[in-house]
Amino acid sequence: MSKIHVTTTINGDPTEYLCEAEDTLLDVLRDRLGMTGSKEGCGTGDCGACSITVDGRLVCACLMLGAEAEGREIGTIEGMAKGDTLHPLQQKFIEHAALQCGICTPGILVAAKSLLERNPDPTEEEARYWLAGNLCRCTGYDKIIRAVLDAAQDMREAS
């Protein structure tokens, strides 16, 4: 069986891999590239734990084939902090105790970052709807939403 050769960019790094046609991008990230920060909670696009960006657009890595990444710019949780500097959202999530078990956290952070890039000043309702595709079973979302809104405010003030 012949594999597909894919050349892509992940978190700014040029990356090549071989995958099978059936492999989702999530399979590729986790099993072929060892980037296990993106999680598989459902495999059907219902939980958002595998949220990544493709050419800047928020998607579920479980609903995209690895082969489709050819020539694209992929962004994952592993690329969110710059060196030893956390993204403000990452910092606020820790400060606000916006995670309990942490399995949904990478996906929510990637999704929240995507929100703030488009809408630096979201209302609570906008944040809740934007993140509706990211399930969290531990927190009841309260502290997550507070962390996102607080990070947004800090980022606005810093810019």
Partner: protein, 287 residues
Amino acid sequence: MQYLSPNTVEDAVQLLASRTGECRVLAGGTDLLVRLRSGMTEPDSVLDIKRIDELRRITREDGGWRIGAAVPGAEMSENADLVSDWPGVVEAVGLIGSTQIQGRATMAGNLCNASPAADSVPALVAADAVARVAGPDGVRDVAVFDVPDGPGKTSLGRDEFITSIFLPARPARSGDAYLRFIPRTEMDIAVVGCAVSLTLDAAGTCTAARVALGAVGPKVIAVKEAADILTGSIIDAATLDRVAQACSAAANPIDDKRGTADYRKHVAGVLARRATAIAKTRAGGAA
């Protein structure tokens, strides 16, 4: 399974025609990948149409809009002019799944998946939208209403695929709206969906209307009775009652895990009333 990613419509048509075994067209993939994953479908190949540039465009055409089959919902929602012309259609597309799904899911894919509950389809039917279909014999246009045949089935030929959907030009004082009912606020499949598109004259009388229901039959239902009630009326409270009754009567749902038939019939009327009121307001009518 083989992964095919042609760069032109012609190549895509040729690949489709020359394949032995089952080939599935991959647009946004938000339905297809779920089916692949669960083993519900095991095609010999998938044909990714996202590398075909012309299918990734939203273009004005004859006063209307042509939406490429590979355009994700999010791009439609971000196009202010499109939203202004067809707010109901864009809302309907925008309701498909989460933000993440919106980054991938396409209107054409929603149509071809042929789910009776597809959100965009009633809105497209109400809009009198037309799908452009490419195949070995060239290109043909087909009313969106005629694309789905029943749950999971379309009228497209084995070698055909949709390249774009055309939303026609709007007369002045037109408005459309789509509402769906779901148990949560997001992330659910429509229990009932209802779309209304209408045009008013300067006096506020409805001169043309189309009403469509989703998730209350094996495929989208165009409710001519409701459209007839609206046409010629000033859309007052009594009209809304009659529209609601007509839609409840036209609904032909089943009992399933998402709702009972009785519930769906009732809610079809509730949504018809509410969607009509929104469409009327959007057309410039008095609330």
